[in-house]
Amino acid sequence: MTFDLRLPIGLMFTIVGILLTGYGLVSDEAIYARSLGVNVNLWWGLVLVVFGLAMLGLAMRGRRPGAT
């Protein structure tokens, strides 16, 4: 038995994305001096969440009967 690979990929990136976004919200601004003053954790975390949810969405759509 195998499973839809998009599920674990979507799940992992959603989790990692939430971790990064959350950390970006609470972390001290001073640590972003090295990333040119941009809160990269927050922004990249959101990118990962969007990617993860998109993968999960594709996996869900694939599970509907009759879907291609």
């Binding site: 499973f3 674990p8 990249w44």
Partner: protein, 569 residues
Amino acid sequence: MPQVQLGAIDYAILIVYFAFVLGIGWFLRRSVRSSEDFFLSGRAIPAWIAGLAFLSANLGAQEVIGMAASGAKYGILTSHFYWVGAIPAMVFVGVFMMPFYYGSRARSVPEYLRLRFDEKTRGLNAITFALMTVLSSGISMYALAKLLELVLGWSFHFSVVVSAIIVLAYIFLGGLTSAIYNEVLQFFLIVLGFLPLVLIGLKDVGGWSGLTAALAPVATDAGYPAGAWTHSWRYLGSAGSNPMGVEWFGMVMGLGFVLSFGYWCTDFLVVQRAMAAESMSAARRTPLLAAVPKMLFPALVILPGMIAIALHHGRGGFLPVGADGTPNYNLAVPTLLAHYLPPGLLGLGLTALMASFMSGMAGNVTAFNAVWTYDIYQSYIRPGQPDRHYLRMGHAATVFGILASVAAAYATTRFNNIMDMLQLVFAFVNAPLFATFLLGMFWRRATGHGAFFGLLAGTAAAALHHGLTLPHGSPPGLKGGFLGSVLHTYPSEMAQNFWTAIVAWTTCFVATVVISLLTERRKSDVELTGLVYALTPRLRDDDQAWYRRPGPLGAVVLGLTLVLNLVFW
């Protein structure tokens, strides 16, 4: 370089990744019922998954660390590994060669050689491949452990043991399917983990125009024209005007036609992923789908090296410098990670690095255990056992293959640039191989004796050429000239390796043709059906949409690659 302290958030990301990698293996454990499930995923993998795994299996240490190192050392000339080398080769294997690999139902590349030629050609290929695979896997592991030691202060032994155990666990549980599924996960992680680094670095140096300006003094100080680091073709007219020390012919023939086609078209590590595809059509599309992201990889793996050397030159001592005054190019990526990424994203970047090493190692191990079990154990040691027996042997080979890689990891310390060393190994073993496959697939008169002795002649020619030439400024020894007299001195190791490959390929090609014509043909036309171009019915795919047909898909891929070559001319 200063050591980096990881925070709780970084470890959290790393642990999430480990959990998913092991979890995928765990959930796939019931999918393995036969040896074909374990070694070839039961030939049930969809094209997009096989395609991304095809890429990812090759995305080990040599790619991420080695390509960035070459990017720093040679600039955008390194993109030829992609735009002249990998992409055309991937199109060729998908359009022209996959019908024979997949259509013959061979379970491995050496097995194809047995069907097409004879037992001894298969044996030679299987044994050299098994050795080379374990070596590559060891190099990958060595590079990972060395980096983690340097960047994080983790013990070398600890890193080797942890990465070995995780890879062992998920392959042991789910076989090739588990390796492939994880490779796709790792592919996305590598892209999404390194992309922010590239974006921040590029922003810091002022975009491509800022980078071009910053790399001009790097080139002129080394005695090259100002654009040598940022133009891929303009300075290939003569070997002396570019840092690789190669002229266009050596580049196109040596790196492109011989080495890259030799690797992408005959190396079981990548071909295995396509063989695991669910249908002939999926198998042929596997390398073509892989080629699309592959052509953009220079931005991800070469650009960081170029940024690192620009910073090193412009801001003074960015990279650690060795005793002889040259920067340590292999540290380009880790130094950038430590420099730009705050806790959080740093954890993601390190996890991506870890993922790349694991996917490379898993690729090697899965290819090794299939070749060992089918082509060596089943053929020469214990033939005629029930399938269950070989499935058990596959599990044992996974353990043995990883132990052998660990041993190889401890033996790998010699070369400054990993890429050069791998190219050297490939030049000896792989360069003649592509001549054998080309003749085998497209010339029915090629015989087993021709193939076998042609390969030996090609490898011998490679060793002879390497032994009689030297790269500029190197003492005789591992880098060449070990046969006593040096007949020719090349401007660089790259140039020497490319020409070794050209010599090996040509020797193998000529020797195979001559010996084939002198020996009797043993295989009838019927036996060669499905193995040789002229004797295989053409595949019809006119009823498919164009984007599902290998021909048009390949043409689009080549067109896009041509555009990239012109843009960065």
